[in-house]
Amino acid sequence: MMKFRFRRQGTDPQREKIKQELFAFSKTVEHGFPHQPSALAFDPKLQLMAIGTKSGSIKVYGAPGVEFTGLHKDLSAVTQIHFLPGQGRLLSLLDDNTIHLWELVVGASREVGGVKREGVVSLQEVGNYSLPGRPGIESCSATRVTVLLLLRSCDLLCIGTEGGGVYFLDLPRLSLKDTQTLLQDQITQSLPDDHRCGKSLGPVESLQEHPQRAGKILIGYSRGLVVLWDLSTRHAEQLFLGKQQLESLVWERSGSLFVSSHNDGSYSVWPVVSGNTYSHQPASSTIPYGPFPCKAINKILWRTTCTGSPVLLYSGGMQRASYGDRHCLTIQRDKDHVTLDFTSRVIDFFTVHSIEPEKEFDDPSALVVLLEEELVVIDLQTPGWPSLPTPYLAPLHSSAITCSCHISSVPPKLWERVVNAGRAQQGRQRTHRSWPICGGKNRAPPPRQQELLLTGHEDGTVRFWDASGVALTPLYKLSTANIFHTDCDPSDDPQDPSSDPDMQQEEEEWPPFRKVGCFDPYSDDPRLGIQKISLCKYSNRLVVAGTAGQVIVLGLSDDRSAHLVDVSVVDLLQDREGFTWKGHDRLEPRLKPAPFPPGFQPLVLVQCLPPASVTAVALHAEWNLIAFGTSHGFGLFDYHRRNTVLARCTLHPNDSLAMEGPLSRVKSLKKSLRQSFRRIRKSRVSGKKRTIATPTRKIQEANAALAEQEEVAPVQRRIEPRSADDSLSGVVRCLCFADTFLRDGTHHGPTLWAGTNSGSVYAYALEVPGIGLGRACERGGASESSVCVEAVLGKEIQLMHRAPVVSICMLDGRGKPLPDPYEASQDLAIAPDMTNAHSVLIASEEQLKVFSLPKVSAKTKFKLTAHEGCRVRKVALVVFSSTAQEDYSEHTLVCLTNLGDMHLFNIPGLRPQVRYNCIRKEDISGIASCVFTKTGQGFYLISPSEYERFSLSAKVLTEPLCSVQLDRPLEPTPASDGTTTQPQANGTRKNQLGQAEGQTEESLSSLSSPVLDTPLDSPLSCADLTIDSTGEITVEDVRDFLTTVDEAENNLKNISEEEGRPTGILIN
């Protein structure tokens, strides 16, 4: 009935307009390293690099901040990418044998943050082509594309196939030149008789254009034959009768010789002397890592330098027995020989070198190696070939990410000190070369504020990232491992081995391995893993808590220091009997003073017992307090006075699971999953590049079969209310400090709140010396004598539905969230309203509820699960600024559910505002990793190595805005019939095509009814969205609304009775 009332009332257009000015959803940029890269290309003219992935996305990178992303319509792996140099076009070859042409085009001008932005360049697909199968012949194998060659003139594409034929495509129209097709028969005819053995030449393995004479291409066949083919005269100019299975070919710059690499680990140099039709033997043939059997050299590059001797770069070729499992790339020049030893597979590599035809030498300046898990750039001009730090594409997952934390508007002072600490870390050896890939121009305005993203890792490190802009740049790395005594040598500073190559290089070793890259997924001790991070940006206090119950308080220092860390042990079981901890041991702190480099240095280590993983931390630097919770209880520690204020056990007597460590059952399942994935990946790796198809397809088939099986045997779900003795009910889920009214309505003071997995909330009133003086006086100055912090249990709330408490936060008298510590006292934020009654917002997995304080009575609530069948996973209070009015903003509760939806609610009314689909509901790790900024942006992991950045705010968004100087006009080719829908990369195509790409009309309609298929009688349907849509919420409005809830409900009831509706039966 209420609903009908509201429907009659209709949506309030004014409120709708305000909502449009506040909220807009878009996925803006992907940070980190693309998951499962499969192809690499470089445009030397535009200085752009492209990376293709197995999920069918293409990412183009230039100077830091310049990024373009495209996603193929099919989710096939990108196997090759080729730039049309200088044109801003590129060709991609997919695993499904299709060739796609992409273009950088100027997108439609659109409104971003209230400012019209024009000329934003984006990557769009403009055409595609797939080779027709030859009639009568098994199409897919014969015309399966093995290699592509784009001529320098950029008007012809040569396609080598599995069947040995070479086809020619006209560019950019992508039309086949039938007459030019070169089949194997033509080549075999010109072979000398003694080389004709009746067998085919094998697939085309390599196509290379003559560096000097246009129109001549080198065709290498798998069985070893190499042909120099003249395109204009259509005849084989020279034949090189190699007998070794061919892997790759490369021309020398002058065209006087070429180099071939072979699958026995050898490479051969072939002189090209005109007039000599047949070459039977190469000039030289070398097996660098022989004489024992070696693996194939997959790719070889030969670059000339002005100093004389060429640089030879090749991947693979390692001795099969001893180093067959290494992922290596060799750089060789004269006597200099380095074998780069990577931690993951080499996908592809290229050199950045001069391309001007008038220059005599290549003079490579940098080597760029794309590995499966990271990008490594080697400076080839500095002696010793050091690696360059990458400004983007950082491997976030160099050790698995275990948690993350975002700090908005970092004070410049802290920023500077963190940056300096990071610089000091990178240490002595630091090349001064600039980043070699510097195409395009970043036109994004400089960030208004500095933002830090902190990631906690499995190996006990916390990494600080510059998240202010499009490029996520590493700033500083903090390691907590050296506080503890671990199995590995604790003095071994776990810095990038790449940064000190001299140490790694041992003279006597052959091959001369050098460890490069920082991807190291194997943690020495999983107990070191970081679970929770909290940073006070004003006092530079950092709290880091880990898997073995360690809570570390750190302070920022600019000087190196060696000191002993104070250790305090807190027993959270509180002598509860009958419990024995069966999980892992605590980490042993070091007994000797450890050296700590400049940066964050540990002050106190608080060790929880039992050493279960820390599940929640809170820091209040103004009061010098930290609170921490595990699955057994929570504690409060005064790090200034170094004493434990409180320890409270939250265990339920029947809880047995709590006694097993996190490394037991659950972990083992995860581990086995990980192992099986590794096995799958291994099977893919072992094959050749183009045979990727088979295992993938097999997996897909298996998945399909699995899906069918699931249909046959349906899953069952038990319907039972949550009971008190559900397992892990004592897990502390959230902790919160607040200066609010807990005792009575007139005196506020420090409080601590803790919420558990079973819907219990504990509220403690704290006595902090020097804080809350009013309270002390009122007590007759009794607390003046006590110098210790005291905690008194004030209230316990048991939520009836017993769902885990996800978040607790206080709202001031105006219904606004309380500011962070120091913000109010140092005039950094608007002071909270302490004159009117506060309230507490408790978000459980099932409900959002606002209670009045100090008398905890329910004021407003929203039962999300009962209505939507989804559960709350993450909650954040966010300020949304309006695009229209400069000074207008609203505090909004953002709520991420287990279905990956973002629900936005106003506070304290808890009326649903908008809802967006954000993360796929199957992407559990994505949902679990989501972190919000204070201004309406957020990050979540789309793969172990990538954060997707999204924005819910219409005003605040960080997205790539860049331009590229091209040889051609930046309009889309007319041939493309407006197929400009551009799905997002990395398989997130499910998401709002319209909304994401800023088509104004689309986003308009999507705002007014965010999800069209919402059932009409759902409380989230559009009609209900504007229940209190009375325009701006002023202070008075909020207060009115709060105080008259009951009245309003009574009114409703009266209405219902007047209408003769029965109130006897309620369906809730």
């Binding site: 899953v715 069952q716 779900r717 039972e720 209310p721 709330i797 989804c870 759902s1018 809730n1068």
Partner: protein, 426 residues
């Protein structure tokens, strides 16, 4: 009002009635027709007197009379009588008092017990032994006797005020005949809801023809669970709505979460797999009812609580949609969060507390209707039914749990109050 789902008690009581009539005809009358001889027992004392058979007055009158006769004014007592089968049945309203009087043959034996004493157990077979001594066995048919002694131990019959509604079929008048809307009440009972749901394929008839759509079905009932004991839900029943919200397009996990979130007061609309037990509300007026409740006893012959459907609900069909809207705005009993407050902090102003208490009681009473008394009760009291005894045990263990949590606080000033339909213990 009906209870199509549990036909058994109906037929049983029917047969009982006919037997009584036969017995009455056979019994020679020793006294005049107009008077019934009464023998009442309180503790060790007996009193004999007579009441008029035709106009015995009301229950209150009789209750007062007994108090005077036994000289126990002001003592709260429970009345029971021995019926012809030797069952000890309660007298606590006009109806069962009249029934008792009319079934006296010829003696009406009243047994009075103090309320504070051990709760008296009413039930069939409860007077088996005593009956023999009183020579009542001769009155029983041999067949009935054998069933009593062999097949059944006595059925427990609880006091009506101790009954709690556990389930009902609602909205019969507005739903299609093929659908059933079942309300399961779980006011902290020990009994599990006791059912499982699964994914499945549902067949819908559309203008385009038969269409297969994914659906959610009940896959299993737990023995002894609430769902099974009500008999209102069955395996393979398709779930259409949960508390008024259509489950179409929702995943199994979503539906699970919705049900769990509503588990304190779960209303499921199902399309029963077995369509033969449907309520035929077009056919017979008498079987049409808005609220029928079924006792929760061991499912073999529960006692029926004869609630008459409220006139309001009969005249005004409740639609699912408005129910949701109300559900949203209203704070119902299922949602009471428990707040424990420490004494060492300042106590609250008690005036405010009672004020809001009253307001909320007023607000709640119309919604809860005839069941408000049971619904409002913070902790269900001990009931004579075996299952409910367990329930109350679990409740008390719950409270003790909370108390234990705050055991270190000096003294818990416990005061029961209600606010927004919640129970708040101070």
């Amino acid at each position: 009002m009906v209870l199509s789902a549990v036909p058994r008690p109906n037929s049983q009581s029917g047969s009982k009635m006919s037997r009584q009539q036969q017995q009455q005809q056979r019994t020679p009358l020793k006294v005049t027709d107009t008077v019934v001889e009464v023998k009442s027992k309180f503790e060790a004392e007996y009193r004999r007197f007579a009441v008029k058979k035709n106009g015995p007055g009301g229950f209150q009158e009789f209750y007062g009379l007994l108090q005077t006769i036994h000289q126990i004014p002001g003592v709260d007592v429970l009345l029971g009588y021995a019926d012809v089968h030797g069952d000890l049945l309660p007298i606590n309203n006009d109806d069962n008092f009249h029934k008792a009087v009319s079934s006296a043959n010829p003696l009406l034996r009243i047994i009075i017990t103090k309320k504070e004493d051990e709760p008296v157990v009413f039930g069939t077979n409860s007077l088996q032994r005593r009956k023999k001594g009183l020579g009542l066995t001769g009155l029983r048919t041999p067949g009935a006797g054998s069933t009593h002694s062999k097949n059944r131990t006595g059925l427990m019959i609880g006091m009506p005020q101790n009954f709690r509604q556990v389930s009902s079929i609602i909205d019969v008048d507005i739903l299609p005949e093929t659908h059933r809307r079942v309300r399961l009440h779980k006011h902290g009972t020990h009994k599990p809801l006791g059912f499982y749901i699964r994914d499945g394929v549902s067949v819908r008839v559309t203008p385009q023809g038969v269409e297969k759509v994914p659906g959610v079905f009940i896959s299993r009932l737990v023995r002894g669970g609430l769902a099974e004991s009500t008999g209102l839900l069955g395996v393979n029943d398709e779930i259409l709505e949960v508390n008024g919200i259509d489950v179409a397009g929702k995943s199994l996990d979503q539906v699970t979460d919705m049900m769990v979130a509503n588990s304190h007061n779960l209303i499921v609309t199902v399309k029963p797999a077995n369509q033969r037990n449907n309520v035929m509300h077009r056919g017979s007026k008498t079987s049409m009812g808005n609220s029928g409740s079924v006792g929760s006893a061991g499912s073999t012959g529960s006692i029926l609580s004869h609630d008459s459907p409220s006139p309001a609900s009969q005249s005004n069909p409740i639609t699912a949609s408005n129910s949701i809207a109300e559900g949203d705005s209203d704070d119902e009993d299922d949602d009471g969060d428990i707040i424990l407050e420490n004494d060492s902090l300042m106590p609250h102003d008690s005036h405010q507390v009672t004020d809001s208490n009253n307001v909320n009681l007023n607000r709640d009473s119309p919604t809860n209707g005839p069941h408000s008394s049971t619904v409002v009760r913070p902790l269900p009291q001990s009931v004579s039914l075996p299952s409910s005894v367990g329930a109350s045990l679990s409740d008390s263990s719950m409270t003790s749990n909370y108390n234990r949590n705050t055991a270190h606080t000096a003294s818990n000033r416990q005061e029961s109050m209600r606010e927004d339909g919640t129970i708040i213990t101070l």
